[in-house]
Symmetry: D2
Subunit: 135 residues, 4 copies
């Protein structure tokens, strides 16, 4: 299992007139969490794209337990529960407020795809090598 944590400060643009973070913006929090999870093992998603692999999102499931508010410093805990076998990878995100309360859970599934031929691919070996020690 591979887990990392990233902090995000809520700015005004993310709020809506209910006085909370608009539900549609959580997908961005998962994305930031995934990006930082990859960076922490010494890789970036930008590197992956430079190898000709893109990772389109094909499924997201979000559950909203408590609201996030303006100026909150939320923590996104991103977990890779298992290494991908084929072309699919699932990131699990849990978001906490400053009181340590779980406010949101997200599961995001992405494909590895070769950008030139737009066909399913696999996790690049260079990334797999770095991740294997956690599993």
């Amino acid at each position: 299992m591979y887990t990392t944590e990233t902090k995000i400060r809520i700015h005004y643009a993310l709020t809506d007139q209910m006085g909370v973070v608009y539900h549609g913006h959580y997908a961005q929090f998962y994305e930031i969490g995934r990006g930082e999870a990859i960076r922490e093992i010494g890789f970036t998603y930008k590197d992956i794209e430079a190898m000709g692999i893109i990772m389109p999102v094909i499924d997201i499931h979000s559950r909203f337990l408590r609201p996030a508010k303006y100026d909150d410093l939320i923590t996104v805990r991103t977990t890779l529960k298992e290494l991908p076998i084929h072309h699919k990878i699932v990131f699990h995100s849990e978001i906490f407020n400053e009181q340590g309360e779980l406010i949101n859970i997200g599961d995001v599934t992405l494909y590895f795809m070769e950008v030139n031929e737009m066909k399913k691919s696999q996790m690049p070996t260079a990334l797999r090598v770095k991740l294997e020690k956690y599993f």
Copy 2:
């Protein structure tokens, strides 16, 4: 069952550097579809808020089948499969491209809540009356 359709033109801000609509923006398409579904029965979500009821989203599940691209005119088909019994309502969205292909499926669950006491409520009677004839 109550179903409506709404068209949305994809503008540049919704695209990302993969050349497709960023996955996180589909929640907005579901929201626009829901809003127009309510408007078509002679009501608005704004009216609901004016009655002291807010409808926070508590669950979203999105499946991405095909990309949407810049300048596409997508159709959001929003369906209410059943009238809510208690405080929860589920809207089902299917999004189609101009070729009539299904590109995205979304299920969004919302609560009815009294804004003053922030406790669970029910669908306002005035809205229920308008919807009942479809079920």
Copy 3:
């Protein structure tokens, strides 16, 4: 002078916790207005990109006179005051609420650039021909 009008319905995602449209979203309204202005003369910005020309924004000036609110149906009046002589084009936008009050003014300057060599270019002739009759 070439002027067109486009209507936009304000959805929830565009509001912030002040209960009004977040100021940063007006750039999207100008963009939608420009896009529809080009479409109305029988062209699209997508066509322009297909010709190898992109139009990056290089200057925006926005003045906020009155707020726009959730569910408002705003009108974006987009005006091209003069045909571009060189590589630069300026669109002037005025946004009105349903009471006909002017709520926002925007001036957006864009460049014509050849995407392959990333150097300044000119308005495509096919577009200029369509616009010339208005000037």
Copy 4:
């Protein structure tokens, strides 16, 4: 003069299909910079709102010199050149890429307004006291 610097990592949602940050998102970078500038003197914009003062944006002018790209770590330098005399305050933002090149300049003017009566107000004394030593 009061100047602070804030770093922002560009995530995917901020890019568009030109492969750069969408121009409309820079208003958010200015907002984040302003927020952090206020935080660094031991205050927050949230505190200001808690005092019954809101700060709507009434004018933005942005100049785009170079693009920002995915995964760039940009620096927003926010400067208050003078203390506000009446109800108006102007923040000047300069944004730099990792090579130290200036990529964007923004000037944002905001009003101080009493939220209850929605009339023009002044900078709260508690904030002015903290800022005065820089001028």
